[in-house]
Each structure stands twice: as C-alpha cells, then as structure tokens.
Subunit: 339 residues, 2 copies
C-alpha cells in the first residue's frame, strides 16, 4: 500500500477527494465587507425570518446544505454523510439544521476549527472508499455567540482592540470521489494546546500557539517548504493572532509571511467596519473557503493553499472552573487536480 | 475494490479494526451495581480528588486515556488520533482531559451516541489505512449533567418513573490495525429523528424512534437477520425506551426481543438503586462496552454483538427556543475475529 501517513500528524490522500461544489451564506455585515461579491447569498436581516438568533443559525445550516446539494444537482438521498458542528451548546445549529434531511450524521465539535476537522474526516472516509458524497459544513452567528459566550448585546459593552467579531454565516463543501477538480490532498491534524490565556476577548492569542504547531508539523511531516503553497490561510486568528502565529512559525525556520493570510482579516474591512482585529467563529473560515478561496482556486488564480481552521475551545462552563481557553488547529491542503 | 457500502447507511470494513484494549472507570453508585466486577476502576468519591464535578469529569477522561494506553503497553506518542466528546457545553470534559497528551484530536458531539460515533469514525480511518492506533472514548458525570441539563442537585427534585440516571464514568477503546481479536466489522450510521418529545425526563422516548430506525436500517442494508447477533444492545434507552424501541423494530418485521439488552438497564439494579428506568449519559454505553461486553466477547461467551449507542441531543439552549429533543443512534457490529 502507498504511504498514507507521514510524520506524526499528517496523512496523504491517495485519491484526493474533490470539492464538487461549495456554498456560502453570509450575514448583513459580512455582505457589506470586501468579499461580498463571492457569497452565494447575503442575509438582509440576521434573524433570517426566524424568531430567535439560534433558530436563525439553524436555518443558515439548513439553507446552506440545500444550496450545496442543489448546486451539485444532487438530492438529500445522494449524500452518504453530513459532518457538521457549531459553537452553540450541544451543537444545536447543526443538529436542528439537518433534522429534515435524513442524511446519516456525524456531529463534530472543534470550535472554529470545525470546517477543517469536518473536511479532514470526510476526506479520509471518501479516500477510504466508504462514501461518494459527503457534505462538510459549519456556521456561526454573531448574536447567538455573543449571547452565549460574552455579554448580552443589549449591554453594548465596549470591546478591546484584541477582540474579534463573530461572523454570521455558514459554509458547506460537498466532497466527492471524483478524480479532477479542487481536491483535498493532505491533512495535518492538530492537538490541543493550552498557553493559559483566559481572556475571551483575546482568542487570537489563545489559538496562535496551536496554529503555529500545526503549520510547522505540516512542513516537517511532508518535507514541503512554504513556497509550495500560493497561500497559507488561517481561520480566524485576526490581526494580532495572525502576526503572533507568523512569528512563531518563522522562529521554527519556515518563512510564511509573504503568503500568509487570515480569513478573519479578509472578511471585513478592518479600517471601516469596527470589528477590532477581525472576524471569528466557525462560520468565518467556512464562508471564506466556500466563496472567495474556492473561486480563486477554481479560476486558477491560485493553485494550492494550506487551509488552517483555528479553534479556541471557549466555554463559559470551563471559564467558571477558572480554566483557560484551549486552542486547536487543523490543516488541509486544497489543490487544483487534473484541471 | 470490494464492496464497502451496502444500502443507504451501512459500511462493511474490509480489514476490521481490532479493539486492542479497553478501559473503564465507573462512579461510586455504578460500582455498587451488578457490573462492578468488570470495571477497571471504581471511584470512591464522585469528585475524584477535584474541586468541581466538571473537573472530575475531565479527570475521568484523562485517566481512562492513560489506562487504555497503559493496558496496551503503548504511550501517548503511539496513538495517531483521539476521537472523543461528551455532554458538557463545548465538550470540555474531552478537551481538558486530553490537553497534556499532544495526540491529534478530533472532537465529536453525538450526545450519548458518542461511543459508537467515535468508533465508527476511528474504524473507517484505520480501515482506510490512515492510522494504526486510535483511542475512542467518552464520559459522563451525574452531577455535572444534572447541573447543566436539569435542576440543581441541592433542590432534591423528584424524578418521574420515565427519568434516567446519568452514569458517572468513562470508557475508552484502543482501536488498532491488528488482524485478530475483537473487531469492528460493520457500521450503520444514524440520522437525526425528531418525534416532538420535549420532556428531559423522558429521553428514552426521544431516542427510541431514531434507534429503531438505525437497527432496522442495519438489517435491511446488510440482509442479516437478528439471530446473526448474540446480543443487540442499545446505549441508554432505559426500561421504557427499550421496550418502545423493540416494538418499533418488531413492527418492521425483525424479532429482536429475545436478544435485546440496554446498557442503561444492565448497569444498575433497577429494583434497588432508585434510578427510575435506568442509566443514561455518554458514559453509560461506554463503560458497559469497555468492561462487561468486551469481557464477554474476549472470553467467548458471546461472539457477535450489535452495539447501538443512542443519543438524545438535549440542550437547554434548544429547549429555550421551544424546540424538542432530537434523537440519533449509531450501530457498530463488534465480533470475534480469528480468535
């Protein structure tokens, strides 16, 4: 059998699963940002016709699932698995979002690393020959996240410069066993890192060490250098977290600054949109991957990216125990194959 | 390539991953029940030397991970992935439990279906050739669960006869690419079912329809009859939920009553231990599988079981939206192979 594992954290896919289609739905504020033209749909109102923010977030999942299946000219019954999760307690956006579908469901929780986690699992399942079509998706919602993790919105509490703005949006990819297109070629799975950060308004710092560790592991495991990729893009480290991560990676001997981007920085106009150091939330990397990045790859403007979704495992329950915010990051190589 | 998928929900593993070792830790009350002799460790006190119940639950995960690795004479660095999740908000028992390990981590959320979900994913990853050793594990804790999902323990609120008692405990299996032993041969992945149940003290009813659907799908997909298995065992439907599930399966033409068991009924003495209709929680099916069932299989008293972990995706956040409790169940065939 061909070598499927390299190093401690990386696997090489032998028949890289293809992103057959992607779909993205973005909130109103995200629709006023620089990536607006790339989204499949922009909400006029973040309640999305529902009575609560949580129900709106579930609807984001339901609609983005329908959209990605529809774009691929398939139906629910063609999908072997859905792999999804979100930030809400017990991942209710995902579970309520898929409840009508009757698609076999694997719930995952990786905080904002969810998009890369679900793609990692989905890709191994397809490459292993167990499925032909898997939808991997996630969501976040500014209002439901602030309510659950920080302060009531009605308080209008001030945000420090290290704060991030939870993206309202959902992104889905439909992975398939096709042989050409935009493929998932390598997966580097991260481990949990704890650097003792306790400030829910400084999540970039909580995630940066785990992210740097995953990026460095990817290069060590594969023997590749950063210039193999046209872009190395993290999920939602934000401006400060991104700079910290770059420095940490460069300290290990890998120069990535010239091709480094962060979805949280790309999705908003940081000068004008009052989002402090950028976007966050599971939806952040998910909507950027499924809109802007997928489009760039499809049109050939870039050929290979290392997509590193970054999670801060923030929980009020663990904060109440005096615990810190754990970080984790998973990387997937997304490349043009045979096109 | 051999047929790996049969029907809509089932996959057949070509080189069935082997449960190289299992480990179980049970709480004090569980240690006073009928399965006491099978547990690797029984807590003297449910705080387990920690200051809070949540920290005690994280410690259950940490210790059961150490124990299963130790029993297999391996170390952290031999494990390719940990797949784990739990009931606490943002799955903090799992994430804090593994934080020192530096093992690549996939967080999952399937409520009490977690043990079968993690084994399903782990088995496909190993059979796909991506890993040699994966630990799949989960936990629950009576006190942290009651506090999060129902009422403060100090209230001493009365429990109706349909209530279940969340198991304090954790179970882990170490899956390997070995070729003989107790193997995972087939996986039937469930979908989310919603029958409108809203009572957090009647979770058996919330889970029974999803469970029956998964069991029926398993037989339809594989063409097997119930007598293929020595035991068909659900996770935590409890007494009433189990009876309901059996009837629903039998209505579809599969007679399972003579070989049907439920982990939630086995783990306590329902007459004497004041647990209403039985145990529940992710830990319930996890500790029964990793102690009693594994032992029975290893010693050859039984040769094949269908293990169906059953999840009620209970969340206070969704209950606050007026939503019902969703159910899901995943089945894995566990069989003696080459021994």
């Amino acid at each position: 059998m061909a070598v499927k594992r390299v190093g401690n954290q990386t696997v090489i896919l032998q028949k890289p699963p293809i992103i057959l289609e992607s779909a993205s739905i973005a909130g109103k504020k995200e629709g006023e940002g620089p990536l607006a033209d790339y989204f499949d749909m922009i909400l006029e109102d973040d309640l999305f016709g529902e009575k609560t923010w949580e129900k709106a977030e579930s609807r984001l999942i339901r609609e983005v699932l329908l959209k990605v299946i529809d774009k691929a000219c398939l139906s629910y019954s063609d999908i072997n698995y859905v792999i999804s999760g979100d930030l809400l307690n017990q991942c209710i956006a995902a579970s309520f979002g898929v409840r009508e579908s009757q698609i076999p469901f694997f719930g995952v929780y990786g905080a904002c690393s969810t998009m890369a986690e679900s793609i990692s699992l989905g890709s191994m399942i397809i490459d292993g020959g167990f499925a032909d079509h898997i939808v991997c998706m996630t969501s976040s919602h500014f209002c439901s996240a602030e309510k659950q993790f920080r302060f009531p919105l009605e308080m209008g509490s001030q945000r420090p410069p290290t704060a991030q703005w939870t993206v309202t949006g959902a992104g889905a990819v439909l992975l398939s066993s096709d042989i050409s297109g935009i493929g998932i070629t390598k997966i580097t799975t991260g481990y949990i890192a704890d650097k003792g950060i306790k400030d829910a308004n400084n999540m970039g710092a909580a995630m940066a060490p785990a992210t740097a560790a995953t990026i460095v592991a990817h290069f060590k495991d594969t023997g590749l250098q950063p210039d193999y990729y046209d872009m190395i893009i993290t999920g939602d480290l934000g401006k400060f977290g991104g700079e910290l991560c770059c420095s940490m990676v460069e300290n290990e001997g890998y120069k990535i600054k010239d091709r480094y981007k962060d979805c949280g920085v790309l999705i908003y106009d940081l000068e004008k949109q009052d989002v402090a150091c950028g976007g966050s939330g599971c939806g952040c990397s998910a909507v950027v991957l499924t809109s802007y990045l997928y489009q760039l790859l499809k049109e050939g403007f870039i050929k290979r990216i290392l997509f590193v979704a970054t999670g801060a495992l923030l929980s009020t329950t663990s904060s109440q125990q005096g615990e810190s915010i754990l970080g984790i990051a998973h990387a997937v190589s997304v490349e043009r194959i045979g096109i």
